[in-house]
């Protein structure tokens, strides 16, 4: 069987190094911090969007209540989807500062000469 490296020339990483990095405390901390943001944010987004769909599809009466002037709940919820999307993106931008800091910490711990083979090998 062909190893993926032969078929796909990205500079390869050593499997042992990766296992070591993956089990390091700093890397696990990075993953945990990322997960703590991404998983709830994504689930909340999905549930909210599918909930919006269900409201529009299955509860037309509720969706047709006028909230401000002629504006219905359905319209308001549509706007909420946009605001929520931008909010999640904004929060992610703020949180990613921390992700990047933790990533640099992980990278600093690695002896780069050992891991990072010459750039663009196989190009």
């Amino acid at each position: 069987m062909n190893s993926p490296e032969e078929n796909w020339p990205l500079p390869s990483l050593s499997q042992m190094d990766c296992a070591r990095i993956a089990s390091s405390r700093d890397f696990k901390h990075l993953l945990a911090v990322k997960r703590m943001f991404i998983v709830p944010a994504f689930l909340f987004f999905l549930l909210n969007f599918i909930g919006f769909t269900i409201l529009v599809g299955y509860a037309p009466k509720l969706a047709s209540i006028r909230v401000i002037g002629a504006v219905t709940t359905a319209c308001l919820f549509a706007l909420v989807q946009f605001v929520l999307g931008w909010t999640i993106a904004g929060l992610y931008l703020i949180a990613s500062g921390k992700f990047d800091r933790l990533t640099r910490k992980v990278l600093a711990q690695i002896d780069r000469a050992q891991i990072d083979k010459p750039r663009g090998a196989g190009e």
């Binding site: 062909n2 987004f45 919006f52 891991i115």
Partner: protein, 531 residues
Amino acid sequence: MTISLGVFFAFVASTLGITYWAAKRSRGASAYFAAGRRITAWQNGFAVAGDFMSAASFLGLIGLIALQGFDGVFYAVGGFVAFVTILLVVAEPLRNCGKYTMGDVLAYRLRPRPVRALAALSTLTIATLYMIAQMVGAGALVALLLAGSGIGYNTAVVGVGVLMMVYVVFGGMLATTWVQIVKAMLLMACTVVLTALVLRQFHFHFLDLFTAASQVAYHQKGELVVKDFLQPGLHYRPPHGPLDLLSLSLIFAFGTAGLPHILVKFYTVPDAKTARNSVMWAMIVIGSYYVMTTILGLGAAVLLGPDDIIAHSGTNMAGPRLAHALGGDVFLATVSAVAFATILAVVAGVMISASTSFAHDVWTNVIHRGVERRSGESVLVARIAAMAVGAAAILIAIALGPGSNVLILATFGMAVAASANFPVLALSLYWRRFTTTGAIAGLTAGLGATLGLILVGPNMMGIDPPGATARHLIQARPWFPLENVGIISVPLGFLAAIVGSLFSREPSAEAKFDEVVVRANTGLGAERASG
């Protein structure tokens, strides 16, 4: 219409200039396939927006909202929220774990040849559906707008096809990206002006527009009816409507994150952080665009009225007609030219993703097992593939003719992306136990179920009244009741991938999972900017 031609030719001339500039700079595979990975965050954000906002979302969407009210607005919301999935789940790991295509990410852990072959098959299927949709749209638009100028549907299709071949064959990803950036800016500028013109009619009181949209009068089957365009249910009615809507929401939530021509854009930036920031830029552009489009759709319903829109060349022309009514001939010409530009940019983006997948996945990695026999071979193959794909799309678009439904074809492509591409992409990035068998099962089931259900659904099967032009491919009652197949095909794609993995063991794929996670999260070993 000479103004329209003038604006259009100015755009074509400047894009050819971009192509010439890009062709001079472009050396080597990563320059051709990934623009040398030097695109910045805002540039890529606009390019993604220019890649995504297609004829369907400019021409189609305004018409849809103008005729179906809130049920059309749903498409605007769906198109935007999809980018949350891209931001949180896909963009950064994809950039870190691949080189040119989605197939790279799968091949990293799994047996490369079968997964690449299937990933390429589904990529090419999506690209074909998308490209034909855009070409038909372009042809119909030209035929309608330039009716007096002697330029017909077929000429327009050939023209668009040849132009995009020039962009892609000579300019590669760099030219495509800049064409998309310019187009996104033009489209935004036009939309802002048009929105301002609509709101001026209501003295910039939003609520007045909404009040007017809550009582739109038009004729339905010869009778005058007054409908509330702010209430859902004008199109998606019981018994199957709500389920169809739910189906559509699944396609939106996962489909965009599996569209090959969107995914390849994240290989054009230098690193994962830039990829992340570019999604933010795209979300600002696309979100504000769709909010404005909603205003335009409701504005068209109120100011033109559904009767007028249906009487004058159908749903796709609601936007241009609105521009004409509010801004006169010059503005109509500008909007029409920008609509062409929109189509050109999307078609070029889809085409380069298709030819990249063919050259990199099929030719280099499946047929020649990853060995490039002569340097520059994969770029050459991609150029030839681009010409072949372009020629095929021209012929199919001419064969289908201007009557075919553009939005439906594009939605089919998105359904394949949601059911076949997204499940395997997500599982290969996030699930240790994922195996080659699982990927094969997921891709096959997702692709097969989507195409199969569409074939036996109401879009393809139906009984047309005798004497009328046949709208359905198969003259029989549909076996599957829903227009949108996502509610079945998306879970099926995931289920097949998971069950297939659980019934097989692949220690090498499990062993490589650590590598994928390390790469995805740190960017170690990811290819940097070049050329």
